[in-house]
Symmetry: C2
Subunit: 206 residues, 2 copies
DNA sequence: TGGAAAACGTGACCGCGGTCGAATTTAACT
DNA sequence: AGTTAAATTCGACCGCGGTCACGTTTTCCA
């Protein structure tokens, strides 16, 4: 049959990811060597590099799987009866909880996502597009409800909110924000600022 | 005299940084080995590690020196006759030009600054405080001129603008924005959004 | 079915960042 | 000056991520 090779490749790839899940989780990313990973996956060290370009790529693949799950959950939860700001908070805090669960993982993910190397550029773009896909419907609904201006490019709005999320996460990594609640509150404040505007002068309505 | 040792230490430290400046600039960060750095600085490899904790720390020290210069320049240029948004753009684009001049350097700096490891946390906090010190007077003047709300914590305003700057830089690293002009324009749009607010409803005035 | 060719797996090997205890230099005190 | 303790320098050494030439397996076609 045509697929013997293909099947094995898939199996091997999954074996690597499974080994990564175990070892990264138990011993952390930095403390897990490629040698160990290979042994655990039952393959040679060199083989790993015909499935992934680098150690960090293994890690990112692992993260993407996890995030896929998080995103799907959030897509279901999405409740159009609440305000845009609450929806955004739910979305971003969902991802933050993943980061919060493992600081080290999250840092690598965020670093690679926000400031990618040329190599990983394409990857991070994909992740980015997922954000856009997730936020777009929320934004459009918000516009219908009159919560959001209609005269701005979507990409800039998405970028604006995502920027504020990054800032909150950064504050957490820098030790300015200590708990999930701190992050939540700051994020809420920032989102609120973004909607109301930093310039003075009341809105005609809110 | 009391300072023979102190003097030598300072000299050695500077020799390392000088060697770093040369080699990093000529060959790039990743392609410069500690061995090479030590040889160029005329000292042993191990010695370097009694002056810096890691290779990236050498790099950050180097960046901080450079940025110090950039900041001082900007502090002078600060022109209170222009609008807040222009002042912010001048400030952030000043830093961006440094990053733009060397993509690789900038990435490491940004990664370490925005998502620091526990070790480098204190350092990045310092850099952060510099931002606050730089922005604070601008914000206060803007408030006097009526360009900025007076009912928000300064730290959140600084964070808001800084977040947008990070997003623009990120867009550049991801290849969405290609030139300095692209970054400038996006940053301008985002700042404008931040001031006017994303929610609909005109301001009473601008 | 046999045998060449393409794809794949492998672990010895490389250069690197970082460590450590021994060796050397400096400071301090009698 | 002589002696000792402390500070500093040093490079052999370690484990790691990543490479590559070679051996093995799979595919394909005569």
């Amino acid at each position: 049959m045509a697929g013997i090779r293909e099947q094995k490749k898939k199996q091997t790839r999954e074996a690597i990811l499974a080994a990564a899940l175990q070892l990264f989780t138990r011993k952390g990313y930095e403390n897990t060597s490629i040698d160990e990973l290979a042994r655990r996956a039952g393959i040679g060290k060199g083989t790993i590099y015909s499935y992934f370009q680098s150690k960090s790529q293994i890690f990112l693949a692992f993260c993407e799987e996890q995030l896929e799950y998080v995103y799907n959950e959030l897509a279901v939860k999405s409740d159009s009866r609440t305000s845009l700001i609450d929806q955004l908070l739910t979305l971003f805090m969902g991802e933050f909880r993943f980061i919060n669960r493992n600081k080290e993982f999250g840092r690598i993910l965020m670093r690679e996502t926000v400031f990618p190397k040329d190599l990983t550029g394409a990857r991070s773009r994909e992740l980015d597009n997922k954000y856009i896909d997730l936020l777009m419907p929320l934004l459009k609904e918000a516009q219908k409800r009159g919560e959001l201006r209609t005269d701005i490019e979507y990409i800039l709005v998405v970028g604006h909110f995502y920027a504020l999320y990054i800032m909150a996460v950064s504050g957490w990594y820098m030790g300015r924000l200590l708990t999930e609640e701190d992050v939540y509150m700051v994020l809420e404040s920032l989102f609120s600022q973004a909607l109301q505007g930093l310039a003075p002068g009341r809105k005609v309505e809110a």
